[in-house]
């Protein structure tokens, strides 16, 4: 059984869907950030696969940059969380709705 590009794409989108579920489900911000990592990672698989099947390096480069971006996001995200936690003692996003309407 030959593993084709479509296999990878389906896998990637499934993982993406899992990420989406996490994004929608998680109320703890830290765990929500996990879910966003999953989103980026799932796409990375697809990029690598396409790159492989097309014999083109661009996809891998995209993955490279996505990883960099993900890392930066973690830094900023955690920074924000730390400040929030210092002030409020929790990172539950249900407590985060002073602005509405």
């Amino acid at each position: 059984m030959e593993i084709g590009l479509n296999h990878y794409l389906v896998l990637s989108t499934l993982l993406f869907a899992i990420g989406l579920i996490g994004v929608m489900r998680r109320k703890n911000l830290l765990l929500l950030f996990f879910a966003t990592e999953i989103l980026l990672n799932s796409v990375n698989i697809a990029f690598a696969a396409i790159s492989h099947y097309y014999g083109d390096l661009t996809g891998q480069l995209f993955v490279f940059f996505v990883i960099a971006i993900a890392a930066s996001e973690v830094a900023v995200g955690l920074g924000l969380l730390i400040v929030w936690h210092k002030r409020h003692g929790n990172i539950d996003l249900d407590n985060m709705s002073t602005m509405r309407g």
């Binding site: 389906v10 703890n28 879910a35 480069l61 890392a71 955690l78 969380l81």
Partner: protein
């Protein structure tokens, strides 16, 4: 055949790991599962011949990112059970199922891949790292540099947000308090 087995194995593993990561109520489990999933993903990279990416994946994600998260978890004290109220589960599940169905519908159809010419084809005989480096430092030099800037931004942002005294409000303090705060800071440095 080996490829197929490896694919399915790792596909299964990553899916399960990520699933656990998003579904578990144990923060520690989630973290662990996520780290595992990341490592399994690097396996795909190796399978697909992107060795460099695989390495980076392990180093950056499992090394740096996960370490950061672990640090964060300790800081936030989320090792206990995470209590999450989920108001309307139907929306979440409805949307998830819908997305899954859509995905399958979409990608079960074959993709037409005519008229595609590899811009940066893989070169025979060169290592993946070497190829990548070649492209990275020619074509993608600019994005690479911008990414450096981005990392710098992220660093500064992290320092500003977490390191500097964001818990004090310079907006609301009066001048005397600010001077006092500065003196205190100097004391700490001296001691």
């Amino acid at each position: 055949m080996f490829e197929a087995i490896a694919f399915y194995l790792f596909a299964f593993l990553t899916t399960v790991m990520f699933f656990i990561a998003v579904m578990t109520t144990q923060a520690l489990h989630a973290l662990t599962a996520l780290a595992a999933g990341m490592i399994f993903i690097s396996a795909f990279f190796f399978i697909l011949g992107a060795d460099f990416l695989g390495a980076i994946q392990i180093v950056v994600y499992s090394g740096a990112v996960m370490a950061l998260y672990a640090f964060g978890m300790m800081f936030f004290d989320t090792t206990r059970d995470v209590k999450e109220k989920n108001g309307n589960k139907y929306i979440v599940f409805g949307l998830s199922i819908l997305s899954a169905v859509l995905v399958v519908v979409i990608f079960s159809a074959p993709m037409v891949t005519d008229n595609i010419s590899a811009l940066y084809p893989m070169v025979e005989g060169a290592g993946n790292t070497q190829e990548l480096g070649m492209v990275l430092f020619t074509k993608y030099l600019v994005p690479f540099e911008v990414a450096a800037v981005m990392l710098l931004v992220a660093m500064i942002a992290g320092i500003v947000l977490a390191g500097k005294k964001m818990d004090l409000s310079l907006t609301l303090m009066n001048d005397a308090e600010i001077i006092e705060a500065k003196i205190e800071k100097n004391k700490k440095v001296l001691s």
